[in-house]
């Protein structure tokens, strides 16, 4: 795609000009479907319009653009709007580019918004480690595991649930770090967690891994 493509410019203008929630969703969806890197800044802004339909369309457009959207997504995380931030983290988690590791760790451990934390925790398990050289890969896998084990003991059931989802994909994908502590953590959650849904999800993770 060429950044100066006039079609893209008119699709961007349609987003700016939308004067109703429904028109905004339509305009963002059309822009997302153009699959153009020139659309990235506008799609990222659409994460913060407080319009879930527009945000979901923007996330799917950014995820389809993949690695090319990552630098802008990382640079433009909205520190003041946790709704927008959760969508950014979901996009980064789905693209799974390991350059997002530090941002995911910070959000998973310490964001004040639970929706942001859950998206980041899930994302930590599913990064594309193969894109990294072995030394870097081992370090990245260790750091992700450390955070997943930490949040697996969070007071909030939903963070523990997300940690199980993260640990399950981490165990399947990590190739350079010993997996026994991750498996032990799942065993413990399956047997002793006070929340039935959390125990159930850990049991399901163990079945997947068996």
């Amino acid at each position: 795609m060429i950044a100066t493509d006039p079609t893209i410019q008119s699709l961007i203008q349609a987003v700016e000009a939308a004067d109703s929630p429904a028109k905004l969703v339509g305009a963002v969806r059309a822009l997302a479907q153009a699959r153009s890197t020139a659309a990235i800044p506008t799609l990222i802004r659409a994460l913060g319009f407080n319009n879930p339909g527009a945000a979901l369309a923007a996330v799917s457009g950014l995820v389809a653009l993949g690695e090319e959207a990552v630098p802008d997504l990382l640079a433009q995380i909205d520190g003041y709007n946790y709704g927008a931030r959760a969508y950014s983290l979901r996009a980064l988690a789905a693209i799974a580019d390991p350059r997002a590791l530090d941002v995911l760790i910070k959000a998973a451990e310490a964001d004040f918004a639970p929706s942001v934390r859950r998206a980041a925790i899930k994302g930590l398990g599913q990064l594309r480690w193969q894109q990294l050289e072995p030394t870097e890969r081992e370090s990245a896998q260790s750091q992700a595991l450390k955070t997943l084990l930490l949040v697996a003991q969070d007071a909030d059931w939903a963070n523990r649930y997300a940690a199980i989802v993260g640990l399950q994909s981490w165990i399947t994908s990590a190739d350079l770090v010993n997996r026994s502590s991750a498996i032990d953590q799942l065993d413990q959650l399956a047997q002793t967690d006070p929340d039935g849904a959390v125990r159930a999800r850990a049991t399901l993770a163990k079945q997947h891994l068996a």
Binding site: N50, P52, G53, Y82, G83, A86, F112, A113, P114, S115, R118, A119, I121, K122, D156, W157, A158, Y161, A162, V165, G196, A197, R199, A200, R201, T203, L204, Q207
Partner: protein
């Protein structure tokens, strides 16, 4: 904006002072009524089941010191809400008496708490609040609420399995207020297990108002209506609400079957994974 009491707010976010159990119990009889009010909330929030806390909260249901300009009883309201979370049926007689309090919000909090405590001895008094049907259950002039807290009463009757109330509950399916209709559908589903009522709540997920869609999600989660799972996951509402609703279905299913690997349980968890 995304906001749900269970997932998005923490005591820190609410600006809460750190308290200890001892302090909170002591504060319930402080001369400063604002300390009592806060302590009652705190004991419920952190589920302090200490019998001294329960006794003090039961006494607070008859508080006369903390009054609003309009004659309301803020401490009684908070004490009733807290007792609903503390799972001690000794609170039932006091809460049942609160159904006759002249403060609407005390009656509402008491009805909600009684629904949670699972003791059906209060059913006759709850039914009294529905007398006169939808003709009587109208807004109080210049107030944001109906004459009686019918939404809370309908939900409590459903939660308590009060099948003797079915004929009293059914007409509220046609109430003019959407949330009351949902409460009636929720209650009727719990009392009859007829899927027609679950489907009414599924329909409500497509309503125009996001608050009502959130409310229907909570109702579906509370009744554990499994056939709604896909509609819940697809509803135009923030993920936090959908995640809680699906968890409601999963919790209900696990209580009923005890099987974390049934096809229904796996389906629900797959949907929940996608909502993270």
């Amino acid at each position: 904006m995304e906001s749900t009491p269970d997932l998005e707010s923490s005591p820190e976010a609410l600006g809460a002072e750190p308290l200890t159990v001892e302090q909170a119990i002591a504060n319930l009889s402080d001369t400063d009524t604002s300390l009592r009010y806060y302590a009652a909330w705190w004991l419920g929030k952190f589920q302090i089941k200490d019998s001294r806390a329960i006794d003090a909260l039961i006494r607070a249901l008859e508080d006369e010191d903390d009054r609003t300009e309009m004659g309301g009883y803020p401490l009684r309201r908070n004490a009733a809400r807290a007792l609903g979370k503390l799972d001690d049926r000794r609170a039932v007689p006091g809460l049942t008496r609160c159904l006759e309090c002249d403060d609407f919000y005390v009656r509402e909090s008491a009805a909600q708490a009684l629904g949670l405590l699972g003791d059906a001895s209060c059913v006759p008094q709850l039914m009294t609040l529905l007398e006169g049907g939808i003709e009587v259950a109208q807004f109080v002039p210049d107030r944001p609420h109906l004459v009686q807290p019918v939404e809370a009463v309908l939900e409590a009757l459903g939660a308590l399995g009060a099948t003797e109330a079915i004929d009293l509950v059914r007409p509220f399916l046609n109430h003019s207020v959407a949330r009351v209709q949902y409460a009636a559908a929720r209650s009727m589903y719990q009392l009859t297990h007829d899927p027609v009522y679950g489907e009414q709540l599924v329909q409500a997920l497509q309503g125009n108002d996001v608050q009502l869609r959130r409310s229907a999600l909570a109702d579906l989660g509370a009744i554990g209506y499994i056939p709604a799972a896909d509609a819940i996951a697809a509803a135009p509402v923030e993920n936090s609400f959908k995640l809680l609703s699906c968890k409601g279905l999963l919790d209900y299913h696990l209580r009923e079957t005890g099987d974390p690997l049934s096809s229904d349980a796996i389906k629900l968890m797959t949907l929940m994974d996608q909502l993270l």
